[in-house]
Subunit: 540 residues, 2 copies
């Protein structure tokens, strides 16, 4: 997410959650920002209308603003429903007092006068106070048709009248005006006429690609008009959509504008971003309540499926892979083969068969890492894959000397037949290497790496536990245990662990990808168990 | 995200945003749920303390609750700071009145009495009202040490005393009690003693994996005690962490509990999920303000990097790929080669050279789709890849007959040398097929598919535009134009478009993956441009 900013909303509370500070705070959260809020009035409200309003005393509104500004640095501010003249000037007074002599953060003023449901939300006499005291502080004013008509005491019915109105509102003091066209429908002709008169038109992208343009050819548009004291007039086109989910659209738009401005965006870019965000909020809204429902503020978010690494959970992905099927994992790392190996009761024939098959398996394992190097897009990954191959080659010598100590010649080792379990597991690694990306391949080789590391540590700790029956001194398989619990192998395990966790931390997988990863992990732990089973069966 | 639920919080407002309904609403949003809120009192508050409180009249609190419940179905409810006796019984009264005779949704009662900063948030006489009127409605009560001591008029200093207190609180009416141990440190001995007495212990996972357990071996724990009337006592262990970011921890936990309960989770599972969520919120918090800062409520969220498809933007990924470097795209689809082809002024030699190289390219293109089929994990993708190969083979015949019409024999076509541009582009496709997953391969072949579709449509529309100079009737390249603007090729383009969009919609890519996709797209459009350039150079 973008760097977290803090934004202040000074507005009313909507118990129904679709508008007011509730919509603002959801919008801030959807942008990854932190919200503070000074409440001007409470409403008892739902999607069908406003049932009651409880004004907050101006002194207390001011006290809320002061508490926030005295402690927390604010990167942008928006004002919404200010309720009455006293709270309107309390707002302006508190902002001016705190920022006297310093730069104010960008301020978006949404001159809320009437609710979507038609309920008046501002006392008439407050209008002039807003113009006199708040507009001079305003970076961007965002009236809709009705509010602009009130502010200018004039009617607005055409696109031309909108542009004229926006320019007149600019004269009232704000540094920019975004006049929202939600209630005025414009057609191509209106737009072409304006375009000819030098107004910048945004949102006509038929020319970008016929292929895509064909899929949407609206005949009527919703047009927002932006007038900036510095760079003239622009209009933003959107296809008209019919929706009941428009409760709090104005609040949401001004909150999204504050988010963009807090990130340092220009007013123009902020309008591009915020109108797109708000539009998609309407289009993707879920039905809530019986009247005009809220927007979907969360359309731009998805859930992290793997938690961020933290001091108390430094390996969230590995923990998830193991814990989502813990018994499966235990069947692998605490297999009877391992028990009996640790207790020195594993038949020689079983161990020899296992070590021969493991020798063949290691060839696949090395080749899989060759494939990983071939698929790598960074030298870092190429190096880590290659290092693993070098480790495998070292492990190989251990196998040879182990076999020698069990009177198995290198030649016999080489000539031994691959078992079905070895073919299955080895070929699966190569298949993943062909089928998937580097992450899927990494996970495919991880279960073996971590599992043998775990087995090594576990046998070691059991050997130190009285009465476990596991022992090293005099255990025919001592060398094997010490190899896998030893520093060389364990540091390889560490690197593998860090590598896969860094991949997941850098890019939290989608649910679908995570399920793929878990499926690969299960397949591998199952194949590992089958590998031990094979060893045991060779006992007889 | 999980299915959206609606949750009601009845609590105070924290202007600083870290606690109260503000923390609740952020927590609901972080879980993908919709929040409604009835405000009991406003506070002028920041991270250093509470500077003022403005109580809301009980009638108006009740009116807020009624407005919400009369219109919006609520799936869970939490209560926080209730301020005074009147608002406490107004809350109970409103809930009882609305749900009389029906099932109430799960209700989490956080008996807020004192703020983190030590400010009293509940009038003493309200305590008894809460016990008498609210506890009987409560699914889960979540006091901390201080609140439990007030409710029981008793001292709690040890883990044993916590368990005893939780059991006594259960006798006061709630169906379950979660007594939070944030202010009591327990060690392994305390925990083992309880475990021996039959209490269920959650959060000791050393046994899951030595490898991971080694990374965290805390000596002292924070323990939360859960008492359920139905299933006895459980304790939840967390390593103790020192942090200043604990403002609103109680609000956040109870809000997260309400989220889990609204999803139908058991109280036990809700505690597991909500404590983990809250803990990570503290651990990953950003520094805000000068005192006890808020938690990071958004740790579980990441930004969607590709918008959801919508009626007004049905192809967000393709639009993004094209628009992130629009000039690059235009250099490809509106290349001079294309212009002159459309105007019939393209030298025969240029076209013949191009068509020969395109013939060789198509072999790579077909092989790339063979690789795609080999990498596919669903029959759907295998079918779509194979269908493309069949289309290419058909396109091949067009090439042969085109060449024939330009006096180029199939034999000459076959024997012609591959140019460097053809080798570069063709080998790049095969490399992507080796290096990446199916999505990366899909994007690698998409630029060609869409680009030629666009070229076909564009030439067709230009031919219909007076004075464009582009014409079909009598144009030596008419067949070529009509092939790529024709229904067969265009329907293949549609399928490709839908396929890639469905992949992105199903799993929004991480920023890193999206950058990879854009890089592949740029590489392809660049190679396409080079391919036309090659054609033109052959003019002379």
């Amino acid at each position: 997410m973008a760097q977290q900013r803090t934004i202040l909303t000074i507005a009313g509370s909507d118990s129904g959650g679709g508008a007011g500070i509730q919509a603002d705070l959801r919008t801030f959260a959807a942008h990854g920002h932190f919200g503070t809020s000074a409440i001007t009035a409470l409403t008892a409200q739902n999607t069908t209308g406003v049932q009651g309003v409880h004004g907050v005393p101006p002194e207390f509104l001011e006290q809320q603003i002061v508490s926030i500004l005295n402690d927390i640095e604010v990167h942008a501010c928006k004002t919404g429903m200010l309720f009455d003249a006293a709270n309107t000037s309390a707002t302006a007074r508190a902002l001016k007092a705190h920022y006297s002599g310093q730069n104010m953060p960008p301020i978006v003023c949404d001159p809320v006068c009437v609710s979507t449901s038609g309920h008046s939300l501002l006392e008439p006499e407050a209008l002039q106070v807003m113009i006199n005291e708040l507009f001079p502080l305003t970076t961007l004013l965002t009236p809709n048709k009705a509010e602009a008509e009130l502010l200018l005491a004039d009617h607005i019915n055409t696109l031309e009248q909108m542009v004229k109105a926006a320019r007149n509102l600019l004269k009232l003091g704000p540094r920019a005006v975004l006049l929202k066209g939600g209630h005025i429908v414009s057609n191509k002709t209106d737009i072409d006429r304006l375009s000819a008169s030098g107004v910048r038109v945004v949102g006509r992208d038929e020319d970008a690609m016929i292929l895509l343009a064909n899929s949407l050819q609206p005949e009527s548009f919703v047009v927002d008009v932006l007038c900036e004291s510095t760079r003239g007039t622009s209009i933003f086109l959107r296809p008209r959509i019919d929706s009941l989910s428009t409760h709090g659209t104005g609040c949401t738009l001004s909150a999204a504008l504050a988010c963009s401005l807090s990130d340092g965006a220009s007013v123009f870019d902020a309008v591009v971003q915020a109108t797109a965000y708000t539009h998609l909020g309407i289009v993707t809204a879920h039905k809530i309540g019986h009247g005009h429902g809220p927007l979907n503020h969360l359309h731009a978010l998805s859930r992290r499926n793997i938690a961020l690494p933290s001091p108390t959970n430094p390996h969230p992905l590995t923990r998830r892979l193991i814990s989502h099927n813990l018994d499966h994992w235990r069947d692998f790392v605490q297999h009877e083969f391992v028990w009996r190996l640790g207790q020195g009761t594993l038949p020689r024939t079983a161990f020899v068969h296992f070590i021969k098959q493991d020798y063949h398996y290691l060839k696949y394992y090395a080749r899989a890492h060759g494939l990983l190097a071939a698929k790598a897009s960074s030298f870092t990954l190429i190096e880590s894959a290659t290092t693993t191959i070098m480790n495998v080659l070292r492990e190989l010598n251990t196998h040879r000397s182990l076999c020698a100590s069990f009177d198995v010649s290198s030649d016999e080792l080489e000539r031994s037949e691959e078992s079905i379990e070895t073919i299955a597991y080895g070929s699966f690694l190569m298949d993943m290497g062909l089928q998937g990306d580097t992450t899927q391949l990494l996970i495919s080789v991880l279960a073996c790496l971590l599992g043998y590391g775990e087995v090594g540590l576990w046998l070691q700790s059991e050997a130190n536990r009285k009465g476990s029956g596991v022992f090293l001194e005099g255990n025919p398989y001592r060398q094997w245990i010490e190899d896998y619990s030893g520093p060389l192998y364990q540091s390889a395990v560490r690197s593998g662990l860090e590598l896969i966790e860094s991949v997941a931390a850098a890019a939290s997988p989608s649910l679908g990808r995570l399920e793929e990863w878990c499926a690969i992990w299960d397949r591998c732990t199952g194949l590992e168990k089958a590998f031990w089973d094979m060893g045991l069966r060779a006992s007889g």
